[in-house]
């Protein structure tokens, strides 16, 4: 566990990594809880999910790690599917370890400081992509200080 990492700091850092990826995308691209495709769900979770860093259901308290999800919006029409391949390439250029699973349309990046990102194609045929960020484990006592994530993260 990262003893000195607070949930609020991790929340900002996840969003910072997301913005870093966003900066490599075309100027109109953004991250939003609301997808471009109206058949997809506006992401229900406005606050990071505090996932347990322990296993089993005997324990009910302990370190947590965060996950934050957004839709990637504003990609050029007709080319969104390409970004499922382009974004992992961006990650690789940054020196992040990547893993791709073509069958389930999921790609993952592992950042050296313990943070991570996951890209997923929603399978609607239009290349709608979600981007989820993860933190390492951090003290549970800092969780309550978190506030909602912004509805939209604009292109930097």
């Amino acid at each position: 566990m990262h003893e000195s990492l607070t949930a609020v700091d991790a929340q900002f850092k996840i969003r910072a990594y997301m913005s870093e990826v966003l900066a490599e995308l075309p100027a109109g691209a953004a991250l939003s809880k609301k997808p471009d495709n109206p058949d997809l769900a506006t992401t229900k979770h406005r606050r990071p999910l505090p996932n347990p860093c322990w296993e089993g259901n005997v324990q009910s308290s302990g370190p947590r790690y965060l996950s934050i999800g957004y839709w990637i919006t504003g990609l050029p029409a007709g080319s969104t599917a390409e970004y499922f391949e382009r974004i992992p390439a961006i990650w690789q250029n940054k020196g992040w370890a990547t893993e791709t699973n073509d069958v389930s349309d999921v790609a993952k990046a592992k950042i050296p400081d313990g943070f991570g990102l996951q890209l997923q194609d929603a399978g609607k045929g239009d290349g709608s992509l979600s981007l989820t960020g993860f933190s390492p484990c951090l003290p549970e006592s800092t969780i309550d200080a978190m506030e909602d994530d912004p509805f939209t993260i604009p292109h930097p």
């Binding site: 769900a41 229900k44 089993g56 259901n57 009910s60 699973n101 399978g123």
Partner: protein
């Protein structure tokens, strides 16, 4: 109709004011009883020394006086009971109402005298937002005002009005035979409710609510709010009825939860007070163990037994507290959670059902059934799994998914002694089956895609809910880390609308390589008293579709690890991504063994 109390009345009423009146009635009762007993005894014994007509007349008159006097003492006794009970009921109702109002006002909502709640202006909290976002935010706030705050406040004010009326009537009835009185609480206007004859007959015991889910729903949707409230006043666990729309289940279950939680907190506070005076007491002394209790100093036996009783009354405090916390709208989700089930009477533990949204308006509904050791006091961990499944279904293309944590059964408390028994699953399976029927009946618009997903012993409950003569209304069944789903083959499962032989298309299972649980099927026959739960559903003989999971944590030497049994919901894990695809209805995107 029963007039609800107003907001001002809720804060102003002082149930403690009844105490003085009750004390006076009790004192008067005791004095009259003592004097009547004395007169009866003295005059009955006077025949030996007071003979003749005068003595006979005196004894006759005394007998009449004592008989009439007994009516007064009976009335006083009834009034004491009515006043004491009423004080408790009014206190609970007042606390429920004021707590609900305080909560709304704390969140900046405005509460009118009649309980109507008005949302704050969204523009104040989103000064920089665009018009579309403000409209959406205002709509969400208005919905919260109506569904989260207003309904419980209005119901609580109605309950308070009802409690005052009931107390007033009970006190009046106590004195029916001895003249009119001025009841303490008459300053608040109350009258009988406007109820349909159909509901009145149910309240009078002349008829019953339909047992059939569809018939119940058909009746329920014709009832007025007054009818519904009256039925809840009669049966506090009405909100668990399958076939009742989710918004009403949530509304009534929250009211009952508030009441039960308040009662448990009060009992625990009293228990704690007694314990503080006697730190040497412990629960290892059996509640009925008078032999042990007699070893206590005589003057503390009564207190000790009161302490035991209060501990028993508050035994569900942890379950109720966590259920209330989890059901609170302050979740990571923008959508309020819904309390679809709350029952602290039927089982050994509290049974709770919590959804992360409204299943009646969802596109995809997943019912998650946890296994051994699960109970509402640990709900927070299960809700993270719920949140993850909903999020993963969203990313897999589901347009409005909702996931339900279904703890509508007594899960086996321990692995070794309890999870080896099939009867926990057999007891829970009918309730899960009925819950799924209810989801289908109450759903609005196009039918949702419904998945029932069990973990560990929960898979045994899921399997049995679709077996032994039951047909489960689910489009998909998912069995995660199963010790056996109660059957030996996917073909033994009966699913609504699925022809025999086609079940395999709807039944999915998985196990992590290092998870030892599916090895359970090898134990029965070797160890006495261990029930067989059926074939491991990830075996080819079972005939379902087996999707991949990450191997999970492994330990040196034996490799198997208990940790791997709980790693299926880790964000980014292969199992969670696959679950999302299954829930969303993308079997072609699932990775299979």
């Amino acid at each position: 109709m029963t007039a609800p109390a107003t907001k001002n009345q809720a804060y102003a009423i002082q149930p403690g004011a009844l105490s003085a009146q009750v004390a006076e009635w009790r004192s008067l009762h005791d004095r009259i009883v003592a004097n009547l007993d004395l007169a009866q005894r003295d005059y009955a014994g006077s025949t030996s020394y007071w003979v003749g007509n005068a003595g006979d007349r005196a004894r006759e008159t005394t007998t009449t006086t004592v008989t009439e006097g007994r009516k007064i003492t009976t009335a006083l006794n009834s009034a004491v009971t009515a006043g004491t009970d009423g004080q408790t009921t009014i206190t609970t109702a007042k606390n429920t109402a004021t707590a609900a109002i305080d909560l709304a006002e704390k969140e900046k909502f405005t509460v009118a005298q009649d309980g109507t709640v008005t949302a704050p202006d969204a523009r104040l909290s989103l000064p920089d937002a665009n018009a579309e976002d403000i409209t959406a935010a205002q709509a969400a706030l208005d919905a919260t005002a109506k569904n989260v705050y207003e309904r419980p406040i209005k119901a609580a004010l109605l309950s308070l009005g009802q409690a005052i009326e009931d107390t007033t009537v009970a006190i009046e009835r106590a004195f029916e035979n001895v003249g009119a009185i001025k009841p303490v609480a008459q300053t608040i206007e109350v009258s009988l409710g406007e109820r349909s004859q159909q509901v009145q007959d149910i309240l009078d015991g002349k008829s019953k609510l339909p047992e059939d889910t569809q018939e119940f729903h058909d009746l329920w949707t014709t009832l007025s709010d007054e009818d519904k409230d009256a039925l809840w006043n009669q049966d506090r666990y009405l909100g668990n009825r399958d076939g009742m729309p989710a918004t009403d289940r949530d509304h009534y279950n929250r009211l009952t939860l508030d009441e039960q939680l308040t009662a448990a907190q009060t009992a625990r506070a009293e228990a704690d007070r007694l314990k503080a005076e006697h730190p040497e007491w412990n629960l290892s002394v059996a509640p009925t163990g008078m032999g042990d209790a007699q070893t206590l100093p005589e003057d503390s036996v009564a207190d000790y037994q009161t302490w035991l009783a209060k501990m028993e009354e508050s035994r569900h405090l942890d379950d109720l507290t966590t259920t209330a916390k989890v059901a609170d709208s302050a979740s990571p989700s923008g959508e309020p959670r819904m309390l679809l089930g709350m029952d602290d009477k039927s089982g050994q533990r509290v049974q709770a059902i919590v959804a992360d949204g409204n299943p009646d308006t969802a596109s995809h509904v997943t019912t998650y059934v946890p296994g051994t050791g699960s109970q509402p006091s640990k709900l927070e961990g299960d809700m993270v799994r719920v949140d993850q499944m909903t999020a993963q279904a969203e990313y897999a293309g589901a347009s409005k998914p909702v996931t339900v944590a279904w703890m509508g059964y007594d899960a086996p408390p321990a692995v070794v002694s309890d999870a080896t028994q099939r009867d926990y699953a057999q007891a829970g399976a009918p309730a899960l089956n009925a819950f799924q029927d209810g989801l289908r009946v109450t759903h609005e618009g196009e039918p949702s895609r419904n998945t029932v997903l069990g973990h560990s012993y929960g898979t045994t409950v899921v399997g049995l809910s679709a077996a032994e003569g039951r047909t489960l209304d689910a489009d998909t069944v998912v069995l995660v880390a199963s010790p056996g789903a109660g059957v030996d083959s996917a073909r033994d499962l009966s699913l609504t609308g699925v022809p025999d032989g086609q079940q395999y298309q709807h039944v999915f299972s998985t196990r992590a390589e290092n998870d030892p649980t599916p090895l359970y099927e090898n134990l029965p026959g070797w160890i006495p008293g261990v029930d067989r739960h059926g074939e491991d559903p990830t075996e080819i003989e079972f005939g379902g579709q087996v999707f991949t999971s990450d191997p999970g944590t492994r330990t040196p030497v034996v490799e198997y690890s208990g940790d791997s049994h709980s790693e299926y919901w880790e964000p980014g894990s292969t199992s969670l991504v696959n679950m999302g695809h299954i829930i969303a209805g993308n079997p072609g995107k699932v990775t299979y063994e």
